[in-house]
Symmetry: C2
Subunit: 341 residues, 2 copies
């Protein structure tokens, strides 16, 4: 199978020691210039390519990072991957991708494997099920650099790249109130995720600042099961005291909200106004166009990988001091328009 | 850094040879049961984890495959990644992800690196720029198993997983003709990609079967540059003999087509009917909802990785005989409706 030229082959061919070949290829000064040239020429002629795992074995450096994500079919994560991958290519690192599909058990199994030294560092966004963090703490304590982005684990003292989730929740709620909404529901993906909780806290604060009473029944737990989420949203909107404003804290709830409204004969924005945390490229062409809290996905991916590569290249670099918050942006579109009400 | 327990540590601790430890951990029968038990117990106690690259170095097997894609911010590729990753997790393989961002030079550089033995096999979808294939042929000739999916390279004699691109182009065109369109434009992403050409051939055949004359100016070359594509589409629709039907052969042209129509005051489907090759989850909630040729993205990813793993686990497996075509599905929605015309 493929190129089998090793240092051993070169040494045998030239009748020199393996150590000599190794030194020549590293351009060391403790061997003769003529020998060095002979080695380099033969290596070139035979198309010798260093085995990446030979170096990895010796130095325990694989030049590889792991990217652990809940999913890829979400425009936030797609854009974040672009940001991460751009930095990795620049730094000549390789990126292993692992999807947890929101399963805590899968996340545990994936992290367990990293203890083997397969990767030099980890970028991760935890699952919506993850409420205990021993598996992450254990890996981190063993010396593995870990950087969280978006869905961070607050209790672990390492770098965290997030957007302003509290402010995002506040902005979304205040915007709906400004548009005349009196009863605002929040579609949440998790009771344990820090981003969900912060967005909810922002929502509660905005209600409070506007003297609107918070009602726990206005928080609707949706899930990754599209059908279940659809039914929860439909139930919410079928209630006689249904909300007149909805905040989807995760992009994937948008389609279900629109479809549930359509089935129930409710008009957006006339009957219900909708705002979504989303990076959907189709937001401007939805029916109606979607008001969004847009997260800086690409920038977050780029910042997270930049911090990780700093840590990998400088052992004195302190990951703990690197928490970066990149602001989100409110983009107002048709789904919260007031003129048609 | 992290767990540093090696076979050597275990051997020293137990005062046995490295070979004995290695045999014990492999559960070989040529060493005593008592010794075996002592080794296994200590390995467990010290949390010994085999170095993945030690095995890789010896066997030149990394249990890693590479996935080379033009991009991830496209629902076809997102879904395909899900299919690939699901199979890889099942087979206990690791997936390195590489994005070419449609750059031929980047694709070349990425493939060059694989010659080092970093990966055991490659799954790839080529860039829209790729018109020569020496870099792929060279890697394939060196013995690297390669499986193409979606954007395949016809000239290389290996497994190819595609959808029925010719039929998709035909179906899309026939559907627009059935809806009354007289002048149909095709938005293409590449002049060299096999999928683009097949979709175009299907389009031409459908025109021909319906006695509609093909005009080269109805093929519009768009690109990955969103702004350029937008301008090309706007120019097409501003022409006095503008088309009354548009086929977007790539999902990303949809948003631009909708926005260009909006800016020009053209109604979809009244003035222009639109059909897109797309897996957009928001297709049903666009304004208007989008008629699509839906590709079996998840299934294609799954089929491609399954074929590759078969080849990796059985050296007698012949990749050349594995070309699989999975049919696409026409889903009719509002963007080609006739009642409003």
């Amino acid at each position: 199978m493929y190129n089998n030229i090793t240092i051993k082959t070169l040494a045998k061919e030239l009748n020199v020691s393996i150590a000599t070949v190794s030194k020549a290829l590293k351009d060391r000064h403790d061997i003769g210039v003529a020998t060095k040239q002979r080695v380099v020429e033969l290596a070139h002629k035979l198309n010798y390519i260093p085995n990446p795992y030979a170096g990895g074995l010796r130095k325990r450096k694989s030049k590889t990072i792991a990217l652990v994500l809940p999913e890829v079919a979400d425009s936030f994560f797609s854009l974040a991957i672009n940001g991460i991958e751009a930095t990795a290519q620049e730094k000549e690192y390789h990126v292993l991708i692992y999807l947890t599909h929101e399963s805590f058990t899968k996340e545990q199994a994936i992290l367990k494997d990293f203890q083997s030294g397969r990767v030099d560092g980890v970028l991760m966004s935890i699952t919506s099920e993850t409420s205990t963090h021993n598996h992450i703490q254990e890996l981190y304590d063993s010396g593995m650099p870990i950087v969280f982005f978006d869905r961070v684990c607050e209790s672990i003292d390492t770098a965290k790249i997030t957007t302003d989730d509290f402010e995002g929740g506040y902005k979304a709620t205040q915007h709906l109130i400004d548009c005349g909404c009196k009863k605002i529901a929040l579609l949440s993906i998790s009771t344990s995720l820090s981003i969900s909780n912060k967005r909810m806290e922002g929502y509660k604060k905005a209600l409070d600042d506007n003297h609107i009473k918070f009602s726990p029944s206005d928080i609707v737990q949706c899930s990754n099961d599209a059908e279940k989420s659809y039914n929860s949203i439909k139930k919410l909107l079928s209630h006689r005291s249904r909300p007149d404003g909805i905040i989807a804290t995760v992009e994937k709830f948008t389609t279900n909200t629109y479809l549930a409204c359509k089935e129930l004969g409710l008009f957006i924005p006339g009957d219900v106004k909708v705002i979504s945390f989303s990076n959907l490229p189709t937001a401007p062409i939805l029916n109606p166009s979607l008001t969004t809290i847009t997260q800086p996905a690409f920038e977050m991916g780029k910042a997270a990988s930049t911090v990780l590569f700093k840590a990998l290249n400088k052992s004195s670099f302190n990951l703990k001091q690197e928490s970066i918050v990149i602001p989100s942006v409110l983009t107002v579109r048709g789904s919260t328009a007031t003129q048609t009400k």
